[in-house]
Structure formats: C-alpha cells, structure tokens
Symmetry: C2
Subunit: 415 residues, 2 copies
C-alpha cells in the first residue's frame, strides 16, 4: 500500500465528463489498496471567466479580493470531483486550501506555502477516504484566502506530498511524460523513464511546458518523487528524482532543449578595461531586460574585447537602442552587431559531470552537418550553442542520434 498525491490540472477537469474520468482513474488506484490525495485546479476557462468579471468592475482590484474571487474556481472542482467519486462508490471528502491548513505568507496572488497541517488529512486517509484538495490556494495567518499564482496547483501537490511523506506525487498532464526533446521537431524523441530535478530545471524550455519550475525545485528540496503522467491514457510517465541513484546505465545526455526566442547582440572592439561588462549590461538590466547567455572574448591585440550576449527577441530593438544611445557613447569605441535569426540548442544531462568530451563531440557533430557555432556557454550539466535559426531542426536531430537518444537506438555515447 502506497500513499499517492495525484494532481489534475484544469484541462483534465475541464468538463463534467472529464471530472468523471478522473474519478474513475482515482478509483483504480484506490481499488489497488493505495491511499490517495487528489489535488485539482479550476475547470479550464473558469479562472479566466472570473478574472473577466473582475476586470469589468475594477481594473486594479486589491490582490486580496482577487484571491477571494479566483479561489472559488478550485472549490467548485473539489466538490464536483468528490461527488463523482461518491457516485462510483468511493468515500471522498473535499477540502479548500484553508480547510486543509495550507498556511501561506500574505503575498496575495503569489503566496508561498509556509506550513501544512496534515492531522485531519491523515485521519481521513486512515478512515479509507480519498481526500480531494483545492490546488493553488491557501490561507494566511489572519485567515485571508491566498493563491499561489497561476499554475500553483503543481506546488500544492508537491507540498502536500512532502508534508505527508507520500510515496509519489503524480502530476497528470496532457503529455505522457518528459521527452528527450520535442517530438514535433525530432520524430525519434523518446520518453524518459527518469530524469533528475537538475535536468528538469536545465531543460526549462521543454520542462516548463509540463511542470511549474517552482514545483520541481520544491520536489528537489524536499526529496519528493515526482511523476509526470497523462490524464487521458495509462502509462508509467516519467519519474523526476532528486538524484540519479545507482543507475548503472546512467546516460551521458538526458535531453536536448532548444528555443528560437532569443536574439544575439555583440559589441566589437570594446576597450578591455575593468568594469566594462557592468557598464554594458547595467543600463540594459535597468530597463528590466533579462539577459541569458554572456560571452566575452579578448581580441588578438589584447587591448579590446568582443562582448556578446542574448536577450529575448521581444527586447531586441529596445536593447539595440540602449547600446547605441547609452552604452557605446559611455564605454567608447566599438561597433554593434545584432542577429535575431538564431536558435539556442542545449544538451542537458547529469552524466556530463563525470564525462569529458561532450562539448567536443557536440561541436564535431554540428561541424559534420556544416552548422556554424556562433556562441557557446556551459554549465555543470548543460552545454548551449547558438546557431543559425534555419539549422535548428537539423542540429537537434543530429545530436539526438549522435548522443544515443533515439527511440530503440543502441547507446554509443563513449564520447
């Protein structure tokens, strides 16, 4: 007998029929003798409907009242799911975030969980009940209803699993697991049996579509085994673990992430003096523009440097203006170049830590395909390269095969 926390998102409970289907799924686990806590979001569309009502009344309502309003969405779902479970003979009770004792700080609309009181939950579970809990919401010290921000139901699931020391927190989504890369780009993409928390975080461009990053961090911090599964079909999904344990066949690379949402900017022949980097990036950060990759090369003469970085494509024009109008006049000299036809491709894998040669193999594979690398940055478990956008699919597919990620491929990654 295991204790599972199962989280179903808005699409999974988006209609009466889907709520009934979730009840059937929960019943199957219950019938196997497991203890089940179910966490649900608002029915898809409901939160937007409520926000729409609010915006007709007040374009700047207090966050406290917004939380009071939108928290009703999950409350509707928990009661309907409990009714659906009762209908098929499963004893079930629903609880709001406040009732189950999910204590948060008072940062309305983006509250953080501080404590969960599990006494009542445990009593119900010991009585054989399925407990249905409203995701995304809690209560502060003064009894005000708070919400964790959009997508926060994942966090509720993980936090409950941590507090209850559950055997697994299962996040049901519209995909059947985490893949080595996006199957729409690489048809040989393979579902991973397991992936580490660090890898999920580094694969943000893949992972963020499936799970809230915050819930993954939370799971890592509290050692909660997290599993991503499909709401609509049966299957083992992907287990997200704190650390890859005793895995004899630990793969070198777990997945390939990519995005085409960045633009590259370069300042050529910038004087190589202390503090130049902050003089370049300071005005950009001041404009609330986020910088991703940063690379600085010393030029052959040793007196000037080429400084490159990437920003979101939507910030490309604004960044060019800041460089031209503010940065270049202040640091002196230099020529600006910009390119927004680029793609970032990243290899991610904890196996990289203990293996040399991943980068050189990556560069060799890309060179063999005639793909020029425009910029490189590395972390402990990730290597990212910038390439021309038109080569993105080719790069992902070549690397996917070369690093043995293809479905049914025999691994050959001895680098």
């Amino acid at each position: 007998m295991a204790l599972y926390v199962q989280k179903f998102g808005g699409t999974s409970v988006g209609s009466v029929e889907r709520i009934k289907a979730v009840a059937e799924k929960v019943k199957r686990f219950r019938d196997e003798g497991h203890q089940i806590v179910v966490v649900v979001s608002a029915m898809s569309g409901e939160t937007n409907r409520l926000i729409g009502l609010a915006s007709e009344i007040n374009d700047d309502p207090t966050p406290r009242e917004m939380d009071m309003l939108v928290s009703t969405g999950e409350q509707v779902t928990i009661s309907l799911l409990a009714m659906a479970l009762q209908k098929i003979g499963v004893d079930a009770t629903s609880y709001t975030g406040a009732q189950v004792g999910i204590r948060t700080d008072s940062a309305h609309t983006k509250a953080r969980i501080q404590h969960i009181d599990t006494n009542d939950l445990r009593e119900d579970l010991d009585d054989g009940k399925v407990v249905v809990v409203a995701g995304f919401q809690g209560v502060d010290e003064e009894g005000n209803i708070t919400t964790l921000g959009r997508g926060g139901s994942d966090t509720t699931g993980v936090a409950l699993a941590a507090a209850l020391k559950a055997d697994e927190c299962q996040i049901y989504t519209d995909v059947d697991g985490v893949y080595t890369t996006d199957p729409r780009v690489c048809s040989k993409a393979r579902r991973l049996e397991t992936v580490t928390v660090e890898e999920m975080l580094e694969m943000a461009s893949l992972g963020s579509k499936i799970l809230q990053i915050r819930s993954v961090e939370f799971a890592g911090k509290y050692n909660v085994p997290l599993r991503v599964l499909s709401s609509f079909e049966d299957g083992p999904g992907t287990l997200i673990v704190a650390e890859e344990e005793d895995n004899m066949e630990e793969p070198l690379i777990s997945g390939i992430a990519f995005n085409v949402n960045e633009a590259k900017l370069t300042l050529l022949n910038t004087p190589d003096i202390p503090g130049v980097a902050s003089k370049i990036l300071g005005p950009i950060a001041d404009s609330n523009i986020e910088i991703d990759m940063i690379v600085q090369n010393v030029s052959p003469d040793g007196n000037t440097t080429d400084f490159s970085f990437t920003v979101a494509k939507t910030d490309f024009k604004a960044t060019q203006r800041i460089l031209t109008e503010t940065v270049i006049p202040s640091v002196g000299g230099g020529e600006m170049r910009g390119d927004d036809n680029i793609a970032k491709v990243s290899l991610v894998g904890v196996g990289m830590r203990s293996h040399a040669g991943v980068a050189s193999k990556m560069f060799r594979v890309l060179a063999e395909e005639g793909i020029n690398i425009r910029m490189v940055s590395t972390s402990e478990i990730k290597i990212s390269v910038l390439i021309d956008e038109k080569f993105m699919e080719l790069a992902v597919r070549s690397l996917h095969t070369a690093f043995g990620l293809d479905a049914e491929a025999i691994s050959d990654e001895t680098a």
Copy 2:
C-alpha cells in the same frame, strides 16, 4: 452615525452593472457617515448553474459537498462587490461566512446559526471599512462549510444585525415595501410605513414573497428593526418592528392576505366521540399532507359532528382518497364533500387584539356584497374566511376600503 446591515439578494447583484449600482447605493449611506455591513447572495442564476453541474455528476451528492459547491456563489459576489466599492473610493473588505465566524450546526443545506463572532467585523468597521459578508453560509464546529438553505441570506443579515446590535437591518428587494394587500388585486393597496413582526408572520401569503419567514421570526426574537426597501429606487420602504410602540393611530387592520391554493374537505355526520379528530387527521398527516384551517361543529342532534379542514390544492385528490379508503371506514358513517374552488381571505392586524367587532364588521361587509362565508377561523391578530374563489378580488377590495386601508382614504374604522 448609525450601523446598518444591508442585504442585497440575487437579482440585485445579478450582473456587473447591478453590482456597481449596489456599490453606489452603499457609498451614499457610507458618505452620510454610517457604518455599513453588506450581506449579499449569489448572482441570480449562479446557484442553479452550480446545482445543474452537480446533478450531471451525482443525483444524490452528500449535503456537505453540495454546501462546498454552492457556497462559492456568494463568495464570487462578495469579492466583486468589494472590488466595485474600492473602485469608487470606498474602503471595503469581503468575508465568507466561515471567515466572519458565522458558526452553525452541522445540518448541511439547512443549517441554523448558533453564534457569530463579531470582533473582526467591529475592528474593520471602526477602521472605517465597509464589510461585505457572504449570505446564506456559515461553518460548523469542525470547519465544514454549511449553508442555511435557499433564501437564507435574509437570515444572515438579521443574525449579523442582532450580533452587532445594528440600528437597522435593511433588506433590499424588488418591491419597495410591504403593502396592505397585493396591488395587482387591489389598485388602492398602500405601502405600510411600519408593520409588526407578528403581522408579517400572519400575512405569510404576502410577506413570504418579500422576506423569508425565518428571518422575520429571528428579527422578532432578537428585537432587530428590519426594513424592506427597493434595490432599484430610493424610498423609505417598510419598517418591521417587534412591537407597535406608542402608536396613537394604531390601525385596526394592517393588511389583507389571501390565497387560492387551498381546497376544503368536509366529513358530515361523523360520530362525535373522543379522539375522532385525530382519527380523521392522523392518516392525512402520516402521508405528509399539511393541514391549514380546521373547523369542527356539533350537529343539532348532539351525537354527530361536521368536521371541515383545508389542504393545499395539490393534495386535494390524495386527501379525498385517504378519507374514502381509510378514514370513513375507521370512524364509521359520514359523507365526504370536497371543494377546490375556494379562496382564503384574511384580515391581519395587531390592533385587532384590543378591538371587538372586527369579525362582525368583516362578515357584514362580505354579506353586503353577497359573498357567502364557507368557513371561519381566527387567531389573536387574524381572521380568515373561506369564500368561493370567484369572489376573491371583490372581497379583498371591499374589505380594503371598509377597513380604511385605501391609499389616501380617511380612516373610519370605529367598528
């Protein structure tokens, strides 16, 4: 400076525009320096929408989950109204029944209020805030959300007014007060400035369309001045008071109630032996049929009796069957007569207590119009007569004039 509890029903908050109008009305009172607690129902249609969702899932859900579900309706309204107040510069905070500490028993879907904790409310009011409270709901000792049953928002308003010792509980409805009789039947019907709790209870057929009887009883018990007003136009409405105090011009009759929803049944020549009444009415009550008027006359020979009573028209056929199949065989003898073309007309007024002759005047007025009286029953502040249904309007109008109730009429009721 007064403290008002103002209750707005589902129609009054049925749309974004109406919620904004309620906010404006509340602001006007606030601007006059009064402290305001607002109690609101769910937006009209919302409770039925939620019940509809539930019925698609489970035709017999537990009452606890129904309360969890439908209580979201008021929660949406309180947050939207608080936002609307904030938008027009009124500091406002919303509270669910649970948050404001409306403690009830655990009789889900028909809970009774046991206690209200007013500390937080008082603090907010002293801070100059308008407090918006969800009607119709509370919380039991274990923290489960309960509801007071349909229409229970009136009761919430009265209970809060009692707990806060408010100067007045104002119930905003779609009529502008309590009338001497239904204006659709008698064009001379007049709005009453005041009416006593007892009169409201006796005028159920008028009053129940405006106010929940239970909230009127509650107001009487706790001496809460209750005022019925229109949501949509300004005006003084009708004040419902515990006792008519020092009213020099206390009217003999306050109003005329009527209904055409009853049917009359008579057993003729029933043996006049002890216990015969319970033998007749027992089997009817056992079938959950409610009996209204009961009249028993001794017949001239002193050995038999004529026994008459009224039931709802919808129970007419079933009652006839019970009399024929069960009662007459068991009590022996007798002949049954039934009539469902009857109307009940009642004069109501606390002034009746200290005045003789109301009944004789009533009978005289009806006789002058050629209206035959089929049955009479009296209470301390009410006289009811059964007449042919076709005379109903004529009877109401004649009595309305004769007892000085007509708008702009000079009172002449010296009986």
